[in-house]
Structures are given as C-alpha cells and as structure tokens.
C-alpha cells in the first residue's frame, strides 16, 4: 500500500469528480444524472480516506466523514429514485428534455 503515492489517489478522485460534473450536465436520463452525483460523492470519499491515511495517519476524522457521506448518499438516492418514479408516472419518461412543464 505504501508504495502507491498519494498523488495517484488524488488524480483518480479529481478525474472521477469532473466526470461526474460532466455527466450531470451532459446526460439526459434522470437515473444517469443521479449516478453522476453518486460518482462525485464517491470521489469525495476517496479524497477523505486517502488524505487521512497518508497525511494524518494518527487520527480518524476523514474515515468517519466518508462513512457518513456513504450513509447520507444512500438516503439521498432513495428519495431521488422515489421522485424519479413519480416523474415516470406523470410524464411516462425519465428524459430531462421531456420534463419541461416550467421554463423561463
């Protein structure tokens, strides 16, 4: 483990975060948008755990923070999926381009 430098983890998490941002903006399917958000949250988890392990090995704050992020992300996903199901029942689609009752 020690011979993998910290930079590798940070590069991975940065890539994941911005792939998530790009996915959130580009994708048109609500489920995929939700997945992009999860990707961003997981990149934050990698950040916290790696930084804690390499820079501050004598404490646990980063580890616990990432545990809480996992739990909250699950709660958020459940509400979001319930709302997406509701969208599907109303609009018969989960494409964001079709969900356009309100504009301007």
């Amino acid at each position: 483990m020690e011979h993998i430098p910290l930079q590798y983890f940070l590069i991975l998490s940065t890539l994941m975060f911005f792939i998530g941002v790009a996915g959130f903006i580009i994708r048109r399917n609500l489920i995929t948008i939700l997945m992009s958000v999860e990707l961003m949250l997981n990149s934050v988890n990698i950040n916290f755990v790696a930084i804690n392990r390499y820079l501050y090995p004598d404490q646990m704050q980063g580890h616990f923070f990432s545990l809480f992020i996992v739990a909250i992300a699950a709660a958020e996903a459940s509400v979001a999926i319930a709302l997406i199901i509701n969208i599907y029942r109303r609009f018969d689609t989960i494409e964001v381009t079709e969900v356009k009752e309100m504009k301007y």
């Binding site: 923070f65 958020e76 709302l83 509701n86 109303r90 609009f91 969900v99 009752e101 309100m102």
Partner: protein, 473 residues
C-alpha cells in the same frame, strides 16, 4: 457526557418529540378524522418556540461537535417563528380534499427538516454542518413533490433534489481540500491551521459555491424559480424563508469564524456575487406573470441584499444579517400567506387575476400591499429598517460603489413590487376574484406577520438585542 449535556439539545429533542407525537396521532386516529393534527402541530411549535426562547442553553457537547449559545438561540427563534407562520398559513391547503389523507406527513416532514436546520445552526464542525444540511434538504425535496398528481410539483421535486445533491457534492469536495491542508474538520482547529494558500482557497471557494446553491445566489440560482413555482405554496414559503435563512446564517457564521484569515478573498467574491444576484434577480422579477415565480425572483434579489450585510463584518455584520432575516420572515410570509389564501379559495396564481382585488377583498389587498412595501423598503415598515441597517453596515467598511449599485437596485425593485399593487388597486377587471372568507388559522398567521412588519422596525430593542448577541464575532 452526562444527562445535563444532552439537555443542551433541548430544542432539537423537543422537535423530534413533536414529530413523533404527530406520527402517533396519525397512527392511532381514525382514517377520516385527522382534524386534530393541525392544532396539535401548531400548538407544539408554539410551545417549542416559547421554551427555547425563555430557557436558552449555552455550552458544548459531543466533543465540540454540537455548540449552543445565545447567538444561535436567537437564530433558532427566528426560524421557529417562521415555521409557526408557515403552519398557520398551510391550514387551508392541507385540509383540501386531495391532501386530507396525508396531513400528518406534511408536519412530520417539516419538523424533521427543521431539526436538520437546527443541527446545522448549532454545528461546531464540518461533519455536523453537512449532516444538518442534508437532513434539512432531503425532506424538503419530498415536500416539493407533495402534490404528486400535479406534473409541475413532480418536476419541482426532482429539480430540487438533483440540484441540491450537486451542490452538496461540490461543497464536500471543497471540505476535503480544506481537510487536506488543515488536518481537521473542527471549526476551531481549521481556523487555527488555515493559511490562504492555493488549495485552501480553492476549497473555500467550493464551500461558498455549495452554500450559494442553497441560498440561491445568482450563478447558482437556476433551480429557484422552477422549484418555487411548482411546489405547493406552503412549501415554497418554507423554502424561501426558513431554508434560505438557516443557510444564510451558517454561511455568514462559517465565513466569520473559520475563514477570517482569508477575508480579503471572500470579501471580493461576495462583492461580485451580491452585485450580480441583486441585478439579475431584480431584472428577471420584472417580467414574471406568475405570483410565485415573481416572489421567487424577488427572494433571489433579497439574498443579494443579504450578502451586503455580510460585507459589514464582525458583530455589526452578523447582527444586521439576523435582523434582516427576521424582517424578511415576516415580510415574505405575509406576501405568501395572501397568495396562499387566494390560491386556496380560487386556484388563481397569476398577477392578472389580481386585477380589481381591492374592490372585492380590501383586507387581503391591504396586507399584500404592506408586505410588498416592506419588501421594497418603503420607510415606515420594517423592510426599510432591514435594508437601512444592511446598507449602513456595508458603507461603514467603505464599499461605496457597491452601495451605489445597491441603491439603484432598490429603485428597480420598487418598480416591480408596485406592479401587483397597481393590479389590485388601479387595474379594472370584468370578473375579479369574488369576495371570500379565509380560515381563522391563516388570519392569525397574517396577523402575526403584519404586527411583525409594523413593529420590528420601530422597536429598536429587537435590533439592539440581535447586535448584542452577535458580540465577539
């Protein structure tokens, strides 16, 4: 850690208890008789507000993760009043035929979201702030889609949850950078270790971005108008007052207490954000025809004015921000209550529907006029004093150019706030909204708001109290 420490959280514990009581009533009351839920919720909210106002706590618990003092207590009281008025104004709407079987859900969800906001306000580290923020936001997204058979409401819910999830992810990424450079997530330790190097400042900017989403500042405001229009009016007013107020408070608090060393940088950011927010919010509000959308853009503009108070820095800045939030609670909720009353009675929400309202419903028209005057900042009412203190707090630090732009914006806002007034009092209509009687709850709520609008500005004791509790920032 003993029982005494646990009682520091009396406000949150009482709110949890209230949510559980409402839940039990929901379970044990007969299917078609939920009449007692609304009085019960209103009464317990009143009780909680009174207890937390008259028995303030002060201290730290859970290894400084939870902190309580008079400043946070004052902000919690402001939120309590706001939630109470929201409960009162929602009576007509939750008792409609299509909502009658889910009355209790509305109150349980509002209570749990309020618990989240209270934890967020009381947070002593970034983990608690994040947990409170999420507990405050996720239930509101469910509430935004409360009218789930309406397409607009469904759309509002999904827009709110996705944009808030994005903003939270950005905020967390910033926090991970701050953790990398300072090695802690506690406010005190971050403050001690914070140096304005590139990575820390980037983390701080991410944090400002994430909170900007919650407060609907301008580059991040795109969700606001849609969510406000689609949600039921009670949820919209909760979102625009309570949610925004809590976010604004903790944003100000963190900037003052955690990042004072980088104040040169975030002051510049706030100057730009406030100018853009005021201008865009005002200009877009002019062209809105739907009253909820109109009030959404007006609330964006008000958030821009709020940022001016943060520029005041220190005790003065914090005091004026809370005072402005208190005034904003009364003002905005009065406006929303009138819109809610009309929507409950007739289902109409467009500004053109308000033509000739004064002839048929003079009292409601006068109250809406008072609220709009207060939002615009016309002298005798509280909104004027809120804006006056914000402007003078900022001017005392020498931001004269920003002050000039803010005054221009206040003038623009006067124009569009008078549009509904003109519709009600001057425009003629062939079939105006007929005279109707509102329920007693909404009348009490409106009464509290109007008294607040008329008195908070004139009685200087309120402002002096809020300034005094902000001491030491």
């Amino acid at each position: 850690m003993n029982f005494q420490d646990l009682l520091l959280m009396q406000h949150e514990l009482l709110l949890t208890l209230a949510a559980l009581v409402v839940l039990c009533v929901e379970i044990f009351s007969p299917e078609n008789n939920k009449r007692m839920v609304v009085p019960l919720a209103v009464f317990s909210m009143l009780l909680i507000a009174a207890v937390s106002f008259f028995f303030p706590t002060s201290g730290k618990a859970f290894g400084d993760m939870y902190q309580s003092d008079t400043l946070r207590g004052a902000m919690k009281s402001v939120l309590d009043i706001a939630t109470l008025i929201v409960f009162l104004q929602s009576y007509g709407w939750v008792n409609k035929e299509e909502n009658r079987n889910k009355i209790s859900e509305f109150f349980i969800i509002i209570f749990s979201s309020l618990i989240g906001m209270n934890f967020m306000i009381s947070s002593g580290d970034f983990l608690m702030l994040y947990l409170g923020l999420e507990l405050a936001t996720i239930p509101i997204a469910a509430l935004a889609a409360f009218d789930r058979y309406k397409m607009k409401s469904a759309e509002a819910g999904i827009k709110l949850i996705l944009s808030s999830a994005l903003s939270t992810a950005i905020l967390l990424y910033g926090l991970s950078m701050i953790y990398a450079t300072t090695g802690s997530i506690y406010f005190d330790e971050v403050r001690a270790a914070f140096k304005p190097d590139a990575l820390s400042v980037l983390g701080m900017i991410f944090f400002i971005t994430g909170m900007g989403f919650k407060m609907s500042l301008v580059p991040f405001h795109l969700w606001t108008a849609d969510v406000y229009e689609g949600s039921p009016i009670a949820v919209t007013s909760y979102l625009s007052v309570v949610s925004k107020g809590a976010a604004a408070f903790i944003f100000t608090f963190v900037l003052y207490t955690v990042f004072p060393i980088a104040s040169e940088i975030w002051l510049q950011v706030l100057v730009v954000l406030s100018i853009v927010t005021m201008t865009i919010g005002n200009l877009f509000a002019i062209r809105q025809g739907n009253m909820k959308r109109f009030l959404a853009f007006s609330s964006i503009a008000q958030a821009g004015f709020l940022l001016l108070g943060i520029l005041g820095q220190g005790q003065l800045g914090m005091g004026t921000v809370i005072f402005f939030l208190l005034v904003y609670v009364f003002t905005n909720l009065a406006a929303f209550s009138v819109v809610a009353a009309i929507s409950d009675a007739t289902g109409k929400e467009d500004m053109t529907d308000y033509n000739g309202l004064y002839k048929t419903n003079p009292n409601l028209s006068l109250m809406l006029m008072l609220a709009l005057f207060s939002l615009a900042g016309i002298p005798p009412v509280a909104g004027f004093f809120g804006k006056l203190f914000l402007f003078s707090a900022m001017a005392s630090k020498g931001y004269y150019i920003v002050l000039f732009i803010a005054v221009i914006n206040a003038t623009i806002s006067l124009y569009y706030y008078l549009l509904p007034v003109r519709a009600m009092f001057i425009n003629k209509s062939d079939n105006p909204i007929e005279h109707f009687k509102s329920n007693i709850y909404l009348k009490i709520g409106l009464g509290i708001s109007v008294v607040g609008i008329l008195l908070t500005g004139v009685f200087s004791i309120v402002y002096e109290y809020l300034i005094s509790v902000s001491a030491g920032l």
